[in-house]
């Protein structure tokens, strides 16, 4: 028996089982909790498929941020009159009681649609050429001109710079639109809904220095090994959220100007790089000189880490903060 194959089969079985129960279970809290383990199994799959960068990001997002967001929102939605009941029925916390319940025809239609779509996808994947290097060779040929040694970082911050830039733009847009939804101008005076206790404060006091260390370590790893701005940013966000939950100073005590500045730092830094390279003689826009590209990428990474951390923690704090209006 081949052990790697056994591992694959177990992992895929777990993934499918978890996502089936996640979507099918009638208890909403069960689904919320299963979502956390879905992230865990996915990151095991990333390790198995030799994508450690993604496993790192998934570990931070799946185990930390997604759990916080979903559990916090679930707690906020939990119907108050049903608190004494042990199990929440799915009816009790339904959000859209005005639309009709899905009937058998609806389910059949959905099933047919999904079934044919999955079959089509399967055909498309089977049709993929069996061999091929994709872009691996191209990336490795130009790697020594990129200023970093790790191919994924090179793709993110040099070869496909536009993608990363616009992605930071998406993050800023998400933060600004959530401000609109919550009808606020900044994060100040948003508090967690319960008074923090001593135990939690001590715990967070102990964890914070380690987290700062991990953020710096991941950022430093970025240029030669799996790690970098994304992973470091997510850990930074987790740290800010923990600080906020325990009542320490966090981004909620920043002034509006400072908060906005850190929100757009990553995007602005990349814009600055674009403008400078565009106005430089004998260089095309976003083409970095080889001797400078390492330094430019490092500066952009630091700014992007700050922005990602601030945006993601603002998203969580804005959607979990006590509703006072």
């Amino acid at each position: 028996m081949n052990l790697t194959l056994l591992f694959d089969v177990f992992l895929i079985a777990a993934l499918l089982l978890v996502s089936w129960r996640l979507l099918g279970a009638s208890d909403l809290f069960q689904a919320t909790v299963l979502f956390i383990s879905f992230g865990l199994f996915l990151s095991l799959a990333w390790i198995r498929l030799q994508a450690p960068d993604i496993a790192l990001a998934e570990a931070a997002v799946g185990a930390g941020l997604a759990g916080v967001l979903l559990l916090g929102t679930f707690k906020g939605l939990e119907p108050e009159e049903d608190r004494e009941g042990e199990n929440l029925s799915s009816e009790a916390c339904r959000l859209d009681p005005i639309s009709p319940c899905p009937g058998r025809a609806h389910l059949l239609l959905a099933f047919t649609f999904v079934g044919s779509m999955t079959a089509l996808l399967l055909l498309a994947v089977l049709d993929l050429p069996a061999e091929g290097d994709g872009l691996t060779l191209l990336v490795f040929q130009s790697l020594d001109r990129s200023g970093v040694e790790h191919p994924v970082t090179a793709v993110l911050l040099n070869f496909r710079f536009y993608d990363t830039w616009l992605e930071l733009g998406v993050l800023v847009a998400a933060a600004l639109s959530i401000l609109c939804v919550r009808n606020r101008l900044d994060l100040r005076e948003l508090r967690p809904s319960k008074v923090p206790d001593v135990m939690l404060r001590r715990l967070v006091m102990g964890l914070t220095p380690i987290m700062i260390l991990v953020v710096v370590y991941l950022l430093w790893l970025g240029d030669h090994a799996p790690g970098g701005a994304f992973q470091a940013g997510v850990v930074l966000a987790a740290m800010l959220i923990l600080l906020w939950f325990s009542g320490h100073a966090s981004i909620t005590s920043l002034s509006r100007i400072l908060w906005l500045f850190s929100l757009i730092a990553g995007f602005a830094m990349m814009l600055l790089a674009a403008v400078i390279t565009a106005s430089w003689p004998e260089m095309r826009p976003l083409e970095f000189a080889e001797e400078w590209s390492g330094a430019i990428i490092l500066a952009i990474e630091v700014a992007a880490t700050l922005s990602i951390g601030v945006v993601l923690s603002s998203l969580a704090i804005l959607s979990l903060g006590a509703v006072e209006d």
Partner: protein, 89 residues
């Protein structure tokens, strides 16, 4: 030795699948959450074993992140409004 580590990792994965039953049957919210925390630790152990089996040191960083952020979900659960124990406090 790599084979052995991979075998132990498979075994741990199997215990995780068995442990999913507790998440499915509950009955309390705390029970389900405890089960998921146990998965977290088992997952860390699997990651450490895989790091040895595949000889990939970056996997250990993923394990480090998992342990570091394990508290986060529980803190959100305990600290958010609407929790049952709130009234007595």
């Amino acid at each position: 030795m790599e084979k052995f580590y991979l075998g132990v990792a498979c075994f741990l994965l199997a215990t995780m699948i068995v442990g999913l039953v507790r998440v499915f049957v509950g009955p309390d919210q705390e029970d389900r959450l405890v089960a998921v925390q146990l998965f977290g630790t088992t997952g860390v152990a699997i990651l450490l074993l895989l790091a040895e089996a595949f000889d990939a040191s970056s996997v250990r960083n993923a394990a480090l992140l998992f342990t570091l952020l394990a508290v986060l979900a529980v803190v959100a659960f305990v600290r958010s409004p609407g929790s049952l124990g709130e009234r007595e406090e």
